[in-house]
C-alpha cells in the first residue's frame, strides 16, 4: 500500500512529455526498434574504423602508421609491389607468412565501399562468402560494406531533411496560423502555386543540369517538402491560438514570439513528434528512388538505390537485389514500428492502453 502510494505520488507530477516517453518504453516493438536503429546509426558514424580496407595501425620497421586517419600510403612505402595504394590485407598475409617483425591491425571487416576491380584480388560479382559477406557488385566492390555506408547516408539524409522541413514548417506554418490575416493569405496562395508544380520533374531537371551533392539534394527536397509540415503547423497554431491560455499569456503582456514558442509550440508537438518517423521514412524512400533513377548522389557514393539498379539489371546475381531490398525493408519497417509506437504513446484515448 505504502509503496503504491509512493509510486503514484511520483507519477503524478511528470510532465506530459515524460509520461509519453514512459508509455513509449512499454511498447516493446517500437521501443526496441528505436534502440536498434539508434545504436546502428551511432555505430555507423564509426564505420571508417569498423569497415575499411585501410589498416588501423601499421608497424613497419619500427615506425607506426595510422592509414585510417592519415589516408593514402603508396604500396612502395611498405615495400609492397603494387601500383598505387598499399593493399593492407595482402600485406598482413605476407608478413604473417614470412613471420616478419612488421605487423598491422585491420578493421573488423577489411573492405571499403570504394575499392573495385582495380585493386588486386577483387573480382566482379563474387558470390556471398565468409570474406565478402554479401558478395561483390558489378565493379568488384564489397556489397556489405557499401550497404553499411549507405545506411549512414540514408538515415542522415532523412534526418537532416525532416529536421529542415520541420524548422521551416514551424516557422512559416506557425506564423501563418498565429498571425493569420494577409500574411496567411499570401502564403496560402504561394503554397497552392508551389504545390501544383510537378516537383519530380523539377528535381530531375535540376539534377541533370547540376551534379547533385548530398546537401544540394537536401536543399532540393526541402524546397519540395516544406509544404506538408507548413500546413500541419498552420492548422495546429491556428487551433491553439484561440484557446484561453494563449489569451491569458497575451493579457499578461507576453510577446508574440514567446507566446508562439513557449506556449503554443509545446502544445503542438504531438503531431510534430508522431509524424517525424514517417517523415524519416519519406526521406529514406525519396533518396532511394532518386538514386535508383540515377539522379541522386554522384557515383561512387554507396547508396541503396544505385545497388538496386545494378541488381535489377543483373537479376541472376540475386545478392545484388536481396541486399539493398532487405536492408531497406528492415530499416523502413523498424522506423515504421517506432512511428506506430510513438503514435500510440501520444494517443490520449484509454482503450489503446488495453491492447
Amino acid at each position: 500500500m505504502e509503496s503504491k502510494n509512493m509510486s503514484e505520488q511520483q507519477e503524478i507530477s511528470l510532465s506530459i512529455l515524460k509520461k509519453r516517453w514512459l508509455k513509449f518504453k512499454t511498447l516493446r516493438r517500437g521501443y526496441y526498434s528505436f534502440i536498434i536503429i539508434l545504436t546502428l546509426y551511432i555505430l555507423s558514424w564509426f564505420l571508417p574504423i569498423l569497415i575499411n580496407n585501410r589498416a588501423l595501425v601499421v608497424s613497419y620497421e619500427g615506425d607506426l602508421y595510422f592509414p585510417v586517419f592519415s589516408g593514402y600510403h603508396a604500396g612502395s612505402v611498405f615495400h609492397q609491389d603494387v601500383p598505387g595504394e598499399a593493399v593492407y590485407r595482402e600485406l598482413k598475409a605476407e608478413w604473417k607468412q614470412a613471420d616478419s617483425e612488421n605487423w598491422l591491425i585491420m578493421p573488423p571487416y577489411p573492405y571499403s565501399p570504394y575499392e573495385d576491380i582495380t585493386v588486386q584480388g577483387n573480382k566482379m560479382f563474387e558470390e556471398p562468402s565468409s570474406t565478402h559477406w554479401l558478395g561483390t557488385d558489378n565493379t568488384g566492390r564489397d556489397v556489405f560494406s557499401r550497404l553499411c555506408y549507405a545506411f549512414n547516408i540514408s538515415i542522415s539524409f532523412a534526418l537532416i531533411l525532416s529536421t529542415l522541413n520541420y524548422f521551416i514548417g514551424i516557422l512559416i506554418g506557425g506564423s501563418m496560423g498565429y498571425f493569420g490575416g494577409k500574411f496567411d493569405l499570401i502564403f496560402q496562395r504561394l503554397i497552392e502555386i508551389w504545390s501544383s508544380l510537378p516537383m519530380l520533374f523539377v528535381i530531375i531537371i535540376i539534377s541533370s543540369i547540376i551534379r547533385p551533392t548530398f546537401f544540394l539534394l537536401i536543399f532540393i527536397y526541402t524546397i519540395v517538402n516544406w509544404i506538408g509540415m507548413t500546413y500541419l503547423m498552420r492548422a495546429e497554431f491556428y487551433r491553439e491560438k484561440s484557446k484561453d491560455y494563449v489569451a491569458a499569456a497575451l493579457s499578461m503582456g507576453q510577446t508574440n514570439f514567446k507566446v508562439m514558442f513557449k506556449h503554443i509550440l509545446p502544445n503542438s508537438l504531438v503531431p510534430v513528434i508522431t509524424y517525424f518517423p514517417f517523415s524519416v521514412v519519406g526521406g529514406i524512400t525519396a533518396l532511394v528512388s532518386l538514386d535508383y533513377l540515377g539522379f541522386g548522389m554522384p557515383p561512387p557514393t554507396p547508396s541503396w538505390g544505385q545497388m538496386l539498379d545494378v541488381g535489377l539489371s543483373n537479376i541472376p546475381k540475386w545478392w545484388m537485389v536481396f541486399a539493398p531490398v532487405s536492408a531497406q525493408f528492415v530499416t523502413l519497417i523498424m522506423v515504421v514500428f517506432i512511428g506506430e509506437a510513438v503514435r500510440e504513446a501520444f494517443d490520449p484515448k484509454v482503450y489503446s492502453r488495453l491492447r
Partner: protein, 336 residues
C-alpha cells in the same frame, strides 16, 4: 463620472469582418458589440448578464485589449478609458506594444478552466509568468509569492509543482484566480468563472472571489449568463442583448425594478423562492436570438419583445438615464 472611476467605457463597438469567396472579399460583419456605455468604479463589482452570444466575452476581451491578436481584422470603436492614478489610458486605441506596460493592471479569469491553463506548464510556472513579466522578483521571491497566492485561493503551496491535468475544475479555476491576482491588478474581468463548474462548488468559488475582492481591493467585471449569480454579489448590473446594452444601473434597482422588457423576461426566469415576487408572471420570450450577422433594424430586441410597437423598428432606442443612475434602452417604458 466620479473621482473613483476606474474605467469608463464609452460607445464601445466591436465588429468582426467576415471574409469569403475566392478573393477573400469582405462579405459581412458580425456586430458583436454595437455601441455600449458603462463604467466601473474602484473596488466595485459590476455584473454583466445576457444570453450566450450577446457579446459579453467580446466586451471582456476588448477591455484587456487582446481582440486584435485573436481576430486581426477586428474593428474597435469608441473608447475604454482606464484611470490609473493620474494617467488616463484608452485601451481601445493603444497598440499591443503600447499597452504592454499596463497589462499587469487588468487581468482576466476565463470561463473554461481546462483551456485557460497551459497544459504543458506547472502551476508554479503558470502563476509566476506574470511575476516574471511585471516584477523584478528573483526565483526565490517568485516561489514564495506563488505559495502565498496558492494559500490565498485555498490550495496547498506544495501543489505548485503539479500540472493542471492533476486538478479538478474548481481547483484549476482557483489557479486561474491566483494567476489573475499575481500582479495586484486594479480590475479583473471574470468571464463566467463558475459556469463550467459543478453546481456544488460554484458557491465556494464565488465566495472565495468575494473575499479576495475585499482583500486585494480589486474591481470585478463579473460576467454571467443568468441574473441569479450576479444579483447578490454585484454593486451594479448591466444587461446585454445582441451586442447592445439594454439596461444598466444599481443592482437593487435592476433586480427589483427592472425596466427594460428584456430584463423583465430574464428576471422572471430566475427560480428564486422570493416571497415578495411570488405572484410574478413568468415571461417566456418567443423565438430565438437573431444572429449578430443580421441584426434587426431599430431596437434589436423587437423581434421578441412582448410590447414592441411599429416605431421600434425605426431607430435604435436611446440609452437613457430614466431614473438616477438607471440607464435603459427602451423609450416605451420611460414613464413607468
Amino acid at each position: 463620472m466620479s473621482n473613483n472611476t476606474l474605467v469608463d467605457v464609452k460607445n464601445l463597438s466591436v465588429h468582426f469582418p467576415v471574409y469569403g469567396g475566392v478573393f477573400s472579399k469582405r462579405i459581412a460583419t458580425v456586430k458583436a458589440v454595437d455601441g455600449i456605455n458603462f463604467s466601473i468604479d474602484r473596488k466595485q463589482i459590476v455584473g454583466m448578464v445576457g444570453e450566450s452570444g450577446c457579446g459579453k466575452t467580446t466586451v471582456g476581451r476588448a477591455m484587456i485589449n487582446i481582440l486584435r491578436h485573436v481576430a486581426p481584422g477586428v474593428e474597435i470603436g469608441g473608447s475604454i478609458e482606464y484611470h490609473f492614478g493620474d494617467e488616463v489610458v484608452d485601451f481601445a486605441k493603444l497598440s499591443s506594444s503600447e499597452v504592454r506596460k499596463y497589462r499587469s493592471r487588468v487581468q482576466m479569469i476565463f470561463q473554461d478552466p481546462y483551456a485557460s491553463l497551459n497544459p504543458r506548464m506547472t502551476v508554479a510556472q503558470i502563476i509566476s509568468e506574470p511575476l516574471q513579466l511585471h516584477t523584478d522578483m528573483n526565483n526565490k521571491e517568485q516561489t514564495e509569492r506563488v505559495g502565498w497566492l496558492l494559500n490565498k485561493v485555498g490550495l496547498q503551496p506544495e501543489q505548485a509543482k503539479r500540472y493542471p491535468h492533476e486538478f479538478s475544475g474548481g481547483q484549476r479555476q482557483r489557479v486561474g484566480i491566483a494567476r489573475a491576482l499575481a500582479t495586484n491588478p486594479d480590475l479583473i474581468i471574470c468571464d463566467e468563472p463558475v459556469s463550467a463548474l459543478d453546481v456544488s462548488i460554484q458557491a465556494q468559488v464565488i465566495n472565495l472571489m468575494l473575499d479576495l475582492q475585499e482583500e486585494f481591493d480589486v474591481s470585478y467585471l463579473f460576467i454571467a449568463h443568468d441574473l441569479s449569480v450576479v444579483e447578490h454579489i454585484s454593486d451594479k448590473i448591466a444587461v446585454m442583448y445582441l451586442g447592445d446594452m439594454a439596461e444598466y444601473g444599481n443592482a437593487q434597482d435592476v433586480y427589483h425594478h427592472p425596466r427594460h422588457p428584456y430584463s423583465k423576461a430574464l428576471l422572471s426566469a430566475v427560480p428564486l423562492p422570493d416571497p415578495s415576487r411570488k405572484n410574478r408572471k413568468r415571461i417566456v420570450l418567443q423565438g430565438d436570438v437573431p444572429t449578430p450577422l443580421n441584426k434587426p433594424s431599430g431596437c434589436a430586441f423587437r423581434t421578441r419583445c412582448p410590447i414592441a410597437q411599429p416605431s421600434c423598428a425605426e431607430s435604435k432606442p436611446e440609452f437613457k438615464e430614466q431614473a438616477k443612475d438607471h440607464f435603459v434602452a427602451c423609450p416605451l417604458v420611460e414613464d413607468n
